[in-house]
Amino acid sequence: MKICVLVKEVPDAAVEKRLNNSTGRMDRSGEKNLNPYDTHAIEAAMQIREGGVAPVEEIVAVTMGPESAVRALHKAVSLGADRSVHLSDEAVAGSDVAATGYALAQTLRRESPDLVLLGQQSDDGECYTIGAVVAEHLGMPSLTQVIKMDVETGALRCERQAEYGYDTVQVSLPAVISVGDAINEPRYPSLKAIMGAKKKPLETVGAADVEIDTSKVGGENSAARWIAAKAPPAKAAGEIIEDEDTAETVEKIVAWLDERKLI
C-alpha cells in the first residue's frame, strides 16, 4: 500500500494571525511550522505501517506552497514519511479551496496512492474541506473527521462523529481520509530523524509537471472571489481575573454570580 499524506506549512501557533487588508490574503510573515493537525495524519500512516495488516511500501508527504514550505516537508519526513513532493509554482499562489484541492489532486494523481490522508483542518485556512475536494477530483470515496481507522482487505473501517452521533463507515481503497485530532497522539521525532530529514528525496514540481490547467488556479482564477474584509461586530470585553490568591478569586466569582442571581 502506498500512502500520501497532505501537509501544509502554517504560521506558528504563537504568531498572531493577521490579514493583509489590500490583498485579502493572510499576512504570512513570521515564524512558520507544520500544520499541527497534519502530524495526526502522518502518525496515522505510521500506525498503519506498524500495524502490519497491510504492508506499506511508501509514505509520501505532499504539499503545495511557497519555497519555505520545504520545512514542513522536512518535519513530515522526520515524523516518518519516506520522501516528499513539493508543488511550488507562482501560478497556484492565492488559490481558493476548490483550486487548491484541484492542484493537489493533480499532484497526487502522478503518485497513484492507495490512500490519501489529511489533517482535519489547516490552522490558518480552517476550511475542513480540502479532503472532500481532492476526493471528488480523484474519483475516490472519502470521509472527514475520522477518529478510528482499521485496515481490512482492500478497505478501511472508519469511525467518526457526525451530527447525530458516531458513524461507522466502510470505505474501499483507494480513498481519501481526513483524520480528526482524537485519532492518535503523534510521536516526537528522534534527533536522528530530524538530522536525516534533509537527506530524504524531495521532488519539486511545477504546475506543468503535474498537468495543472493554470486557467483554473491562482487568486485571479479562483471561483470564490475575496472582495473585502471587515472587523467583526464589537463585543464588550469580558472581565478578567488573574488567579493569584485562589480564595480571593473564588470570592470574586461568587460575588459576580450572586450579582446576576445565578446562585
Partner: protein
C-alpha cells in the same frame, strides 16, 4: 432565473434544524434575487409529507432523490444532477458536518466557488455575497462568486428558522446516477450514542469541561460543582473529551453536538474553538476558567479566570455550597 437549491438533511423522520434555517434563508435570498428556493432531500424512502413540509419554511419545490443516507458523495451526485438539469445559481447548506463535505465535493464537481462557515449572506446587484469569519473570528471576509454556480455553507445556527405559513411544497422525484466512488463507502452503523443518556438541555446552569481536565476522572470536579449549584445544573463537554471517551456524547456541545443557551455556562479547561463556540455562544452568562490567558474562549466570555482549574474548581464548589447554605 436565479433559483437557490438548499440541501435538507433529515434523520429518523425529522429535518435537521440547521437545514430548516438554511431553507428559510434560501427563501429570503431567492425572493431578493427574483427567483425561488428549492430544497433537496436524499434518502431511502423519504416520506412525501416530510418533504412537502419544507414549504412551510419557504421552499416552493422539494426534490426527493432515492439514495444512501448519512454519506456526502451520493448527495453530491444528486445535487449535481439537479443543478445540471435545473436553473440554479446557488447551492446553500446549513451548519453541520455533512453540508461541509457535500458543498466541497459539489464545488469540485461543478468547478464552483465555495465559502464555508458563512455567518451572513446578502443579495446585491443580483448576486449573493457571503460573509465568512476567518482567523479565529478576528476578521470577516466577504466572498462573491465568479463561477456559474456559487456554493454557500453556513455556520451552525447562523440562519434563523422562519415559518412562512405557505403550506405544503410541490414534491418532485429526482432520478440520478450514483457515481462509482459514491458507492465505495458503506454505512455500517449510524448515529451511535456513546456513553450515558444524560439530559442537559433543560438545565439553567451548565458546568462544561474540556481537555484541560486532564483525564476522565477530572469530570468529577465539574460534577461536584454542578451538584453544588443544585437540581437545575448539569455537566456538559467538548468533542475533544467525548472523542477521548471521558464523557458521554449526549453531553457534547457544539457543531456535531447540542446547541444550548443556559443562564450560566461555566467552561473549565476549554479552549473555545469555533465548533464549540457555535453551540453555546448565546448563553446568557459565560464564565471561563483557563490557564492560558490567550485562550480564544476569553474573547467571548463575560467573566474570565486565568488560572488552574484544579485549584479553582474545588474551592468554588465549597463556596457555592456555603452560599446556598
Amino acid at each position: 432565473m436565479t433559483n437557490i437549491l438548499v440541501y435538507a438533511l433529515h434523520y429518523e423522520g425529522a429535518i435537521n434544524k440547521n437545514s430548516l434555517g438554511a431553507v428559510s434563508e434560501g427563501a429570503k435570498l431567492a425572493a431578493e434575487l427574483g427567483g425561488e428556493a428549492h430544497a433537496i432531500l436524499v434518502g431511502e424512502g423519504v416520506p412525501q409529507d416530510l418533504a412537502a413540509s419544507l414549504g412551510n419554511y419557504g421552499a416552493s419545490k422539494v426534490l426527493v432523490a432515492e439514495g444512501p443516507e448519512g454519506l456526502a458523495q451520493p448527495v453530491v451526485d444528486a445535487m449535481g444532477a439537479a443543478i445540471s438539469g435545473g436553473d440554479y445559481k446557488y447551492a446553500l447548506f446549513g451548519g453541520g458536518l455533512l453540508g461541509f463535505e457535500i458543498g466541497a465535493g459539489l464545488a469540485a464537481r461543478l468547478g464552483a466557488g465555495v465559502a464555508m462557515e458563512v455567518t451572513a449572506v446578502r443579495a446585491e446587484g443580483g448576486e449573493l455575497i457571503a460573509e465568512r469569519p476567518i482567523l479565529g473570528d478576528s476578521a470577516i471576509s466577504e466572498i462573491s462568486y465568479r463561477s456559474e454556480v456559487g456554493i454557500v455553507i453556513g455556520r451552525l445556527n447562523a440562519f434563523e428558522i422562519k415559518e412562512t405559513g405557505a403550506g405544503a411544497a410541490a414534491v418532485e422525484q429526482l432520478s440520478f446516477e450514483l457515481s462509482p466512488h459514491a458507492s465505495q463507502a458503506k454505512m455500517i452503523t449510524r448515529g451511535e450514542q456513546r456513553g450515558a443518556d444524560v439530559d442537559i438541555e433543560g438545565a439553567d446552569i451548565l458546568v462544561a469541561g474540556g481537555r484541560g481536565l486532564g483525564k476522565a476522572e477530572g469530570f468529577q470536579l465539574c460534577e461536584e460543582l454542578a451538584g453544588a449549584f443544585g437540581n437545575n445544573a448539569a455537566v456538559a463537554a467538548t468533542r475533544a473529551v467525548v472523542d477521548a471517551g471521558w464523557y458521554p456524547y449526549a453531553a457534547q456541545i457544539g457543531q456535531t453536538g447540542k446547541t444550548v443557551s443556559p443562564k450560566l455556562y461555566l467552561a473549565a479547561g476549554i479552549s473555545g474553538a469555533i465548533q464549540h463556540k457555535v453551540g453555546m455562544q448565546s448563553s446568557e452568562n459565560i464564565v471561563a476558567i483557563n490557564k492560558d490567558s490567550n485562550a480564544p474562549i476569553f474573547e467571548f466570555s463575560d467573566l474570565g479566570i486565568v488560572g488552574d482549574l484544579n485549584k479553582i474548581l474545588p474551592k468554588l464548589t465549597e463556596a457555592v455550597k456555603a452560599k446556598k447554605g
